[in-house]
Symmetry: C2
Subunit: 255 residues, 2 copies
């Protein structure tokens, strides 16, 4: 159903398609672990039984309606302290892909992509580190394409936003093409600052007033930036200084 | 849990371990299909949800108690007409491994291994053919090790036969070593006749009177041999001539 694609440089030259599996990230990790390593290899499934989300949460998707896959990368050209660049380019690639079809596509720090304030894509990046280098990176992507009904009212799909149904193999090829282009940019070290700027320009809450749950209080504030190691900078109305916060320290309230 | 082993020549140099999967043969096939090919690579799981048996049957095994894995081979040195050699060497390797622990280990044509007239191992070989050569061969092995209870009264395990419990990773390494040795023998073309003789000498019903279901009748007979392409030669009491039979034409009755 999903074939390897030949018009990319790295991403998707090899595609492993499994009608069903527990977690594409776990299978990708085992393939790397076994030394059967080809950068850009994709593991894709129609039915991910135990998909993983951020912070040990579960990623749920209806079988056969969405794109659920993992990309094996080897970004050994960046250091551990630069690893947030991976999140940035992946989110930017998905955003660029989606903005072919819909407007108002935002990246919700660190790794979600939203359309019209609803989540359309989740990204889970798992890095393995050797010394100060990123030896391997497994990028899990769950992109809602044709799913119409969601248990979570905060979720949406490309189909819900556009009213169209999509051919998954075609969209798969397009997404991979965007991932390939953005990954090439990350490989060009002189593009890193531009990528960080592009990420900020599409970041939900950047220079806007948005709502957070911070220390169990609902507070308004503004995102003022992201640090190189991936912490978010937030100026809350209730705090005098800009806060530098990690994943568990702040929660978004998106209405 | 299961690591690659370094004291073999081909088998098990790379091991992909999945806590759970649908079918190790299917994952192995996808890995080959993607071109991530390394001969001797193993896909092993603790819990095969949709294991495949011969002729589309289902292979069932209790999670975590047995060895359930697939081996990726590339026996391009043999022709399609010789493909039954693969069945022979795999069955011989499993038989040799088991005979370390128990006596009376028999190969039930074409691909089962029996101990004391009960099935202890099933083998499913799926070949892909290019011209007259075997381009790839995926060998699925389900070996009952520690399982104590079986729905099918005709099944047994190494543990049931010996009264001992086994450490699966250790047995895995031993089985792979036997598979490696026998696969080397198959690569030595001058050993093929010896392998065929060895297979016959361990074949259930060879030069013995056993019972078959043939054309819906229970009949006694004797196995007189196996042809090069893997048909079985049977002399039934009710038939004047030796019959050359394929998989669906005869059924064993093993009491």
């Amino acid at each position: 159903m999903y074939n390897s694609i030949q018009d990319t440089l790295i991403i998707g030259k090899k595609v492993i398609y499994l009608p069903s599996c527990h977690s594409t990230n776990d299978i990708a990790a085992e393939i790397v672990h076994a030394g059967l390593f080809a950068e850009g290899t994709i593991v894709i499934t129609d039915n991910q039984v135990k998909g993983k989300g951020q912070r040990g949460t579960v990623w749920q998707a209806s079988p056969g309606e969405n794109l659920t896959f993992s990309v094996i990368l080897s970004p050994s050209f960046i250091t551990v302290s630069e690893q947030f660049l991976i999140s940035q380019v992946i989110a930017l690639a998905i955003r660029a892909y989606l903005s072919q079809y819909v407007g108002h596509v935002k990246i919700k720090w660190p790794n979600d992509v939203y359309v019209n304030n609803r989540k359309v894509c989740g990204i889970l990046i798992e890095n393995s580190i050797q010394g100060t280098k990123i030896a391997g990176s497994i990028v899990g992507i769950g992109l809602n394409v044709n799913q119409k009904d969601f248990e979570n009212s905060n979720a949406t799909s490309l189909s819900r936003e556009t009213g169209n149904l999509f051919l998954l193999p075609e969209e798969f090829q397009k997404v991979l093409t965007f991932l390939d282009v953005y990954y090439q940019q990350m490989r060009s070290l002189w593009r890193h600052n531009d990528l960080r700027q592009e990420y900020l320009s599409h970041l939900y809450g950047y220079n806007e007033t948005v709502t957070f749950n911070y220390q169990n209080r609902i507070v308004k504030g503004t995102v003022t930036g992201v640090t190189a190691i991936g912490k978010i900078l937030v100026k809350l109305e209730t705090e005098p200084e800009v806060l530098e916060l990690g994943l568990k320290e702040i929660e978004w309230i998106i209405q």
